[in-house]
Amino acid sequence: MTHIGIFDYGAGNLHSLVKAIEGADRSVSVDTDIRLSLKGDILILPGVGAFGAAVAAMRGAQGYVRSALADGRPCLGVCLGMQMLFDSSEEAPGSNVGIGLIPGRVMRLLTPKVPHMGWNEIEWVGSAKLPAAYFANAYVCEPDDVSSVLAWTTHQNRRFASVVRTANTVGVQFHPEKSSVAGRSFVNGVIDEILQCK
């Protein structure tokens, strides 16, 4: 039995995520205390909308997450959860909210239409794993080292990293749990993959 810990650091909707990854050989728990979430075999940082609330809830949790990831705990960050893996964000200037696992910054999208909302294609660097997914983001990740980028996505005049990976931590800018059948099978595949390389 694999145990998945989802860290609930905001007021977002986690129902679909839980249902998307639940299975016969998996238990999923949602906790507002990071220490409980880290009792699982894998940590998920979900994508909630409110950055301000997320920053407040995340305060104090970064240290625990940082040391767990340094110890090799597999982790999946979704949307804002992916952004949290980086050093800093323009959405919270001056604050040092990021977990800092992946060197780089989170920047505001400066495209004519923001947010980047809807289904967009995913351009994989290696073998394609999911052709398209549902996005809802106004900020994008800018890794210092593009070798961590597994896939890119383009919105209007801006190309950005939509999937990143370092060791057994994966970040996805889109919402696999909102990307129908293909998204569910993708996210379950990612979970299996990062658990294996533990």
């Binding site: 909707n13 129902h15 679909s16 249902k19 239409k113 947010p115 909302m117 967009n120």
Partner: protein, 254 residues
């Protein structure tokens, strides 16, 4: 490579059941929302919208229960609108499992609601729902289910909602609603040309060609469908096939 055009299935919900008004009156029962939402996802719907037209408190709590049941079975985004009067109403809908909420009448009465909601939950989950009726050379915003004129110009109001924090505009033509004579392309293109957020066309879809026109001539990012789908005249898969044949980028169901 860019965002695909979205086809959104809208279910008007009253006391937990689906209804679809024609010209905002003559409500007709169309069935169980969860079953319909699942069916539309399987057909390739990109999103689902529930517009709640319940007037009573009992209806409201029925809606939240419905959202909860839907969120556990639906794996595409769910927007919930109707009766969103306060940040507390919005928080309750999001907690129940909505991904976005649509603000209509309450946003006209208290525009700060858009800002409060965006600050607390993020712009990406705040949809400005605007019901517009043509009045000569312009369009006027109506509230309370399209019954009450506000004196607001629809194009100006759309811009204002975005400035206040809305991350998307759901633009319904009252004149075309239920008429199946095509979207109001003039209204659409006027709003789409000034909008800095995605615009969803609503009211009047009668065929795949109408939906194509909303994208190509109206400049819409997404098209909302209701009666056309519930009636069984066509389905989303057929519509998307026709759109694709016309060169529109849409996602096909797996």
């Amino acid at each position: 490579m860019t965002l695909m055009n979205r086809v959104i299935a809208c279910l008007d919900v009253k006391d937990g059941r689906v209804v679809k008004g024609v010209g905002f009156v003559n409500l007709r029962d169309e069935g169980d929302p969860v079953l319909l939402a699942e069916r539309y996802e399987a057909q390739g719907a990109d999103e689902i919208v529930y517009l709640d037209i319940s007037a009573t408190n009992e209806g409201r709590s029925t809606l939240l229960d419905l959202v909860r049941r839907t969120a556990e079975r639906l794996f595409i985004p769910l927007t919930v609108g109707g009766g969103m009067r306060s940040v507390e109403d919005i928080a309750a809908a999001l907690r129940a499992g909505a991904d976005k909420i649509a603000i209509n009448s309450a946003g006209v009465r208290r525009p700060a609601l858009f800002t409060d909601a965006a600050k607390r939950f993020g712009s990406q989950c705040v949809v400005a729902s605007i019901d517009a009726q043509r009045n000569g050379e312009s369009w006027e915003v109506y509230v309370n289910g399209g019954r009450e004129p506000t004196g607001l110009d629809a194009i100006g109001w759309a811009t204002k909602c975005t400035e206040l924090g809305a991350g998307e505009i759901l633009l319904t033509s009252i004149d075309r609603d239920g008429a199946r004579s095509g979207y109001d392309l003039e209204l659409l293109s006027r709003v789409a040309s000034v909008a800095t957020v995605p615009v969803i066309a609503s009211g009047g879809a009668g065929s795949a060609a109408d939906i194509r026109d909303a994208f190509t001539r109206g400049g819409a990012d997404a098209a909302l469908l209701a009666g056309l789908l519930h009636s069984g005249i066509t389905d989303i898969q057929s519509i998307k096939k026709a759109l694709r044949a016309d060169g529109i980028s849409v996602r096909m169901a797996a």
